[in-house]
Every structure is written in structure tokens, then in C-alpha cells.
């Protein structure tokens, strides 16, 4: 599903964020990417989201080489990707329903079908009764779940999450991880960047450890001990 092949990223400032990074994630796999801040987690996600392009090497998602994708095809490629952010990035002046529906409006899904899918996604994150609310009225954990509903509503084959539990207490963080786990169980590939070691140990998934832009460890799920 995801393949990094000798990927390096050097920013215009001269900072080498990733150097010679290679790994592969199978379809339906759930993977954590961890490392201290500045290790290259954010850059890795930016390459997947096509916010940045690699300086060297190739990034392949779902059989498609992102390094050679034309700028004009980026919106279409992003529609196959669900993104969850630490700060959830909801449109605060829109209802919960409108926020979750946004990717479907962009994809051109008919209103009836759209409503059905939005409700299904909200039900999955346990917020069905909140659809008319403004995001600002919800708690941080609930806002994060709306963000997840938005990421999964178009049923993308790949979900990437950047510190999705960064602002949450352990109880809520565990709930969010439970949601990702459920997604992975229905065949969606999930990649979560996090530095919350406690959470990673408890979730027991494969862990990629980055340090100074290099892959220093790749721990299979079976070897993660809590």
C-alpha cells in the first residue's frame, strides 16, 4: 500500500529531514511512526499527503508513484487519502454534518447518498446525535472524532493521522486508537504518527522508529510489549 524507496528530503533551509528512508506497509496494515520531535515524522506524512515532494527516492501509494504525479492530479489523489490532524482542523463555522460531508461534496456524491454516508461515519465515531451542532460546542475529544469521521467518510484506502491523540487524556486517546483499530479490521491501511509510547505499547501494532531522518527500528506487532 505504501512504499518508501531510498527517500530523502532536504528542505530549502538545508535541513535534511529524511535520509535514505525505505519501508513498506501492506494493505490493511496499521503502523505507528514514532521518534522524538524533528525525527522526520511530520515530513513523512507531508510526503504522503503530497504537501512536499521527496528530494531523492520514490514514494509509492496504492501502486502510484507520488514523486512523478502532476500538480493537477494532486486533488484527485488526496481524495483517496483520509487525513486526521492533531488540531483536527474542522471548519468552525459549519455544522458537524457539513464538516463530515465536505469530502463527499468535493467528490460529487448525490445528497441522499451523502447524508447516508455522513450518518454512517458519525455513527462509527459515536457522534450521530451531534450532527447539527457546531464543532466549537464539542469537547476536544469529540472534535477529534468528527475529524476522524471526515477522514473515513469517503472510504479512502489509506488513513494517515498526525499525533491524533496529542491533546487527549489517556482514556480518550485509547478510544481513538480503538477507532483506528476497527478501521484496520475492515481493510483500511492506517498510519499513525505519534510519540506517545505508552499508547503505542498498549495498542500493539507495528512500530517504525525514526531518528534524525533515518529508520532506526522496525518493530513487528508481535514484538511490541506493554
Amino acid at each position: 500500500m505504501i512504499r518508501f524507496d531510498q527517500v530523502s528530503k532536504r528542505y530549502a533551509t538545508g535541513q535534511e529531514a529524511l535520509s535514505g528512508l525505505s519501508f513498506q506497509v501492506e494493505p490493511g496494515e496499521m503502523v505507528f511512526v514514532t521518534g522524538h520531535s524533528g525525527a522526520g515524522k511530520s515530513t513523512l506524512l507531508k510526503l504522503l499527503a503530497m504537501i512536499e515532494r521527496p528530494t531523492r527516492g520514490t514514494v509509492t501509494v496504492d501502486g502510484r508513484n507520488l514523486s512523478t504525479a502532476r500538480a493537477g492530479s494532486i486533488p484527485r489523489l488526496r481524495r483517496k487519502l483520509g487525513m486526521v490532524f492533531q488540531d483536527h482542523r474542522l471548519l468552525m463555522d459549519r455544522s458537524v454534518f457539513a464538516n463530515v460531508a465536505l469530502p463527499l461534496v468535493i467528490a460529487g456524491i448525490a445528497p441522499a447518498e451523502r447524508a447516508r454516508r455522513v450518518r454512517a461515519a458519525l455513527e462509527k465515531v459515536g457522534l450521530l446525535s451531534y450532527e447539527k451542532q457546531a464543532p466549537a460546542m464539542l469537547s476536544t475529544g469529540e472534535q477529534q472524532r468528527v475529524g476522524i469521521a471526515r477522514a473515513i467518510v469517503a472510504k479512502p484506502p489509506l488513513i494517515i493521522a498526525d499525533e491524533p491523540t496529542g491533546n487527549l487524556d489517556p482514556q480518550l486517546a485509547a478510544e481513538i486508537m480503538g477507532l483506528f483499530d476497527a478501521l484496520q479490521n475492515v481493510g483500511t491501511t492506517v498510519l499513525v504518527a505519534s510519540h506517545d509510547l505508552m499508547l503505542i505499547k498498549r495498542t500493539r501494532k507495528r512500530v517504525l522508529v525514526l531518528d534524525h531522518g533515518r529508520l532506526v527500528d522496525d518493530v513487528p506487532a508481535t514484538e511490541v510489549r506493554s
Partner: protein, 318 residues
């Protein structure tokens, strides 16, 4: 690949594509109205400034149009006076008057004898004593021509040139010459109004552009989110183009209303002015077609301003 069976992301049928296009426009339209409503004071200022900027050339056009009508109305009372040579014969004047009566650009011809002229002068204060000391009549025959009302400057000039070549003619005085000067002046005024309209249209473009730029800057987070969930550039841009369209349309409506108010306020004084010149003149407003066109053109202008700003502000990716 062990992937879940997925519903197609987009149905490819033609009616769905058209409907999706409509739904996305509706989304942009609603988003644009939220933008305007989100900064009510800024929106009001932009619309008012644009309205005033567009009302200015319209007002000048209104005044110019009425000046033109006034000139036409007064021109009807203006005559061409042909002074015959002092030692000329009465027959020359009569022959000239007869040939003039056949010309289509002439409405009326009147021959005034030296005697009539003398009588006219005698009635004027201060002249009667001076005239008594004269032992002969120094006045010539005068042929007074009233051209038809709709005579244009070219026809009048041709007529005057022809008069100067006629036997026994000493001088031709065109009392309507001021009208030609007025026409020339009005031509200058028309050009000036057009230039002013172009300059103020550019100003309106910049005003809308600046407002849209502020809107875009205030919404950079939202723009980032839209891009990350896969919105196309035109989807991201659409709310701002609609916003520009609304600014323009509202500005155009304000300009039209302002102009109509001015028309209403000016009509009575202008009618009085015309009456004092003995002319009957109804105050003429701008044509309705033009007034209806103003909001449409202004909306197009607003859209263009927004388009230009979007091309700049939304060019770089996040």
C-alpha cells in the same frame, strides 16, 4: 490486496456530474455569503465605496446628457444674420431671400430693410439722439435666417459658406456658433466621462480585489483544509469568486440607486433653468437600459477583481 469492497468515489453518469457541479456551486455560493456576512462592516464599506465610485461617472453622464438637450432646445431660437453691402441693391436681398426659401435646412427667412433697422435702433435708449444727427441711413439690408431645428453643425457651416459667396453679401453672422462650441465642449466632456468611468472601474476592481484578498487571508486555515481533503483549485477559489460577484452586484445596485436619487433631486431645478431660457425642456434621465446594465457590469467587474486576486493569492500551495 485485501481491501474492503468500496463504493465508487464518484458516479460517472452525466446527470450526476451536472448535479454535482450544481451542488459544488451551491456550496461555494453559501460559503461566499458566509464570508460577506462574517465581516458585515467590511462588506458594507466595500459595497459603498464601489457604489460611489460607479455613481460618479453616471452622474457626469447624466449632467452631460441634459446639457446636450438644453443646447438642442435653445438652438431652435438661434438665427443666422446676413448683412448685405451698404451700397447694395434691395433686389440682391430679395433674390437671396427667395433662393433661401427653397432650401430644406431653412425654416424661415425675414428681410429687414434699412428703414426697419433704423426704427428698431430708434427705440433703443441713447441711440435716438445720435441717429437724428445722421443725414443718411448707414444701415444695410439684413436677411435673417432661422434654420430648421435639427440642423447639424456641418449643414450650418455649409449654408454659411454658401451665403458668403452670394452677390451683395457683406458679412454673415452665425448666432448659433456658440452651439458648435457647446457641441465641441460636450464632445470633450463625453470623452472625459468615459476616461473617468474607466479609471473608476479600475478603482472599483482594486477595492473588490483588496476585500477578497483580506477574505482569503482570513480563511487560510479553511483553504488549507479544503486542499487537504482533495478540493480542486476551482472548488477552493469558487467562494471568493462569488464574493467578488456579490460585492460588484451590490456596488452596482448602490450606484444605480444613487444615480436615480440624483436624477430626482436635479429634475426640478433643471426644468426651471430651461424655462428661464424660454425653452421647454423635460429633464432627461439616463436610459433604463444603461441603469439596468450597471449592476451587471459591476458584478462582472467584481468577479474579475476576485479572479485576479485569487490567481495571485491562491497560487502557492499550502
Amino acid at each position: 490486496m485485501a481491501r474492503v469492497a468500496r463504493e465508487p468515489a464518484t458516479s460517472r453518469t452525466r446527470p450526476r456530474r451536472v448535479a454535482a457541479w450544481g451542488e459544488q456551486h451551491a456550496w461555494g455560493l453559501v460559503a461566499s455569503l458566509r464570508r460577506l456576512g462574517g465581516r458585515p462592516l467590511g462588506t458594507l464599506l466595500t459595497v459603498t465605496v464601489m457604489g460611489f465610485a460607479l455613481a460618479l461617472p453616471l452622474t457626469f453622464a447624466l449632467l452631460l446628457g441634459n446639457l446636450q438637450r438644453l443646447g438642442t432646445a435653445l438652438g431652435q431660437t438661434q438665427a443666422i444674420s446676413v448683412f448685405m453691402k451698404v451700397d447694395g441693391h434691395a433686389a440682391d436681398a430679395k433674390a437671396l431671400a427667395d433662393s433661401l426659401r427653397d432650401r430644406k435646412e431653412v425654416a424661415a427667412v425675414d428681410v429687414r430693410t434699412p428703414k426697419q433697422g433704423m426704427a428698431e435702433l430708434a427705440t433703443m435708449q441713447g441711440f435716438s439722439d445720435a441717429l437724428k444727427s445722421l443725414d443718411y441711413n448707414p444701415l444695410p439690408y439684413v436677411v435673417v435666417i432661422r434654420p430648421v431645428a435639427h440642423i447639424d453643425a456641418g449643414e450650418a457651416a455649409k449654408l454659411i459658406a454658401w451665403l458668403r459667396t452670394q452677390p451683395g453679401v457683406d458679412q454673415v453672422q452665425d448666432d448659433g456658433a456658440w452651439r458648435q462650441r457647446l457641441d465641441a465642449l460636450l464632445a470633450v466632456g463625453t470623452r472625459a466621462v468615459l476616461l473617468l468611468a474607466v479609471l473608476l472601474a479600475i478603482a472599483a476592481l482594486l477595492v473588490v480585489g483588496n476585500s477578497v484578498r483580506l477574505d482569503i487571508q482570513g480563511r487560510s486555515d479553511e483553504i488549507g483544509v479544503l486542499r487537504l481533503v482533495g478540493a480542486s483549485p476551482s472548488f477552493v477559489r469558487r467562494p471568493y469568486l462569488y464574493a467578488g460577484l456579490w460585492y460588484g452586484l451590490a456596488g452596482g445596485v448602490v450606484a444605480t440607486v444613487l444615480t436615480l436619487l440624483l436624477e430626482w433631486a436635479l429634475s426640478a431645478p433643471v426644468a426651471r433653468l430651461a424655462a428661464s431660457y424660454g425653452g421647454r425642456l423635460d429633464f432627461g434621465g439616463l436610459p433604463w437600459a444603461l441603469l439596468a446594465l450597471v449592476p451587471v457590469l459591476a458584478a462582472a467587474l467584481g468577479w474579475l477583481g476576485a479572479r485576479l486576486v485569487c490567481a495571485r493569492q491562491l497560487r502557492r500551495p499550502e
